[in-house]
Amino acid sequence: MYAYDQYDQTLVHERARQFRGQVARRISGEITENEFKPLRLQNGLYMQLHAYMLRVAIPYGLLSSKQLRTLAHIARVYDRGYGHFTTRQNLQYNWIDLKRMPDLLDELASVEMHAIQTSGNCVRNITSDPYAGVAVDEFEDPRPYAELLRQWSTFHPEFAALPRKFKIAITGAERDRAAIAVHDIGIRLVRREGDGAVGLSFLVGGGQGRTPTLGAVIRPWIEKEHLLSYTEAILRVYNRFGRRDNLFKARIKILVKSLGADEFARQVDAEWERIKDSELKLESSEIESMKAFFAPPSYDSSAGGSLDAQRLSKNRPYARWVERNVERHRVPGYAIASISLKTRDLPTGDLTADQMDAVAALADEFSFGELVVNHRQNLVFPNVRIDALEALWKRLETLGLGLSNVGTITDIVCCPGLDYCSLANARSITVASALQERFADAGRADEVGDVTLNISGCINACGHHHVGNIGILGIDKQGVEHYQLMVGGSHEDDASFGKILGPAFTQEEIPNAVDRLVSAYVALRTSPEERFLDTYRRLGDAPFKERVYARD
């Protein structure tokens, strides 16, 4: 993975030192809250419902075991013993003491981490494919490009005060595991028709929130050397013409919609012509030296075994885990293993400090000391020997992390909701827990098969409810938490947004409603092979609506 040079290191230490002074001046009364608030937000520190929340950046979700141990230490010493992995591949702490924040930032800086640009109207954490570098369907590893984007966007003076926050995702694979269609900019490494040369395809104007929009391709292919210049051209057009008069119309998707994708692309191209040969143009040596940071680990060429054989193991719980949580790796003898953070013991995406330490030890032992946070709030060990999978699973079981539910209805994506968040209208963790109870029977979850279920506590959609096959949106109806049920969303290559099925449900009613929805699918599908989404797309919402709202 990327290792900080002296500039990166100086930058994060300096930032921690600056914030120490800012906190001291705020507490002494030298600066006002209005002056302090943008400073704390620039360091990821939000005021939430009950306490300060700190969002720590995890660039493209990639963590070393050493970093995870430090995150565990911070959870234990500076917070209440746990952390929450988010849909933007970051980590949040929920109970932060303002006075101790500067020390906390020093701890992060000591392991090449920070909370810079995890809030505010700037370019946020760059996200990517959790299987980057190991996926069988990958054209090229996107991480060197994600890191180049991270460095370009960090403290970019021109883009420190954009009309609104800005999210970029990049993938290098055929299958989209980074939800690029619902980002302000989605970048894909693709092969050009004809000569097969790998370049970049740019989608712009995707997003969720209040106005869910799928990104439009404005550049189907461009040389990789133009990664930064073309991205900068997009940001320049947005920075100049994006609306600043209305918070709800300030995202780039609104600008792209109002101009039309073709006109937006024309303006970007005009800007790009001016800067494409500037210092933003990447030299091939720069790309190559960045790629060196992401060189494959020392795989053991004698590693053997097949995943098919593991799936036929007589140890049925283990075989089920392989079936659900393990995927093929590009190197023979290795596999990609997901650790589900959707246990019934803790809220979705949460991990205790002790579990973090234990997972870090497992990453050292089983995955070359690296792991990845994915946007479905699970952890991925990208490099596990197939002949070590069973040993890994056994160790995960002892930690309560051996759950075999990736991709099933209990693999629920869920924002912090009204238990923590000051923007939320309704609790989401409570609903996720109730649904996990409801579908706890593994046989039932297996019968239902692949389905994504996403919950957000408000329209801002941190739980990505728009793109869940089943989406749940929390609302406040006359002071009482209610939940709208949405159907038909997808975050993958066939990206789509769910439609509201009908009137909202109370917290008590929603598990039954989801149960009826799922039962309707099982009854209506042509065969167990027909996915939930395909059944819905074939039949539309009428038969689902009829069954979900049927009077008992």
Binding site: Y52, D419, S422, G479, V480
Partner: protein, 122 residues
């Protein structure tokens, strides 16, 4: 019968809470802010002091009262951040927020931690 409508609306509002039979006579307010050092919710009580419990908060009945106390709270920057007033219903058990958000916020950290399986945290 506007008062009856008000009673019914209030019943609906609180049906998810323990205050099923409370009666609302008028919309009143409470002033709140977050403590600077740890972000914990605080409420304005009689005698212009901050308290942790919403039950002990002072109920503000007039625009003048709200404006006066907001101005005071804004000058309390050494202790608190972002003061604002919230809608409450007066009940025998004290003021109860009309929004789910403020009811959960007023419940404090402990119920959240217990509900989510963390006890009181570490």
């Amino acid at each position: 019968m506007p008062w009856l409508a008000s009673v019914y609306a209030n019943h609906l509002r609180n049906r998810a809470s323990f205050l099923i039979f409370s009666v609302k006579f008028m919309t009143v307010h409470v002033l709140t802010a977050n403590r600077l050092l740890d972000g914990a919710p605080l409420y304005l009580a009689d005698g212009e002091r901050w308290v942790d419990a919403l039950a002990n908060a002072k109920v503000l009945r007039t625009d003048d009262e709200r404006e006066h106390h907001l101005a005071w709270a804004r000058a309390q920057e050494a202790l608190v951040c972002d003061p604002y007033v919230l809608d409450v219903t007066e009940t025998t058990g004290g003021p109860v927020p009309t929004s789910a958000r403020e009811r959960i916020r007023a419940g404090g950290a402990r119920p959240v931690l217990e509900r989510l399986g963390y006890g009181e945290g570490q």
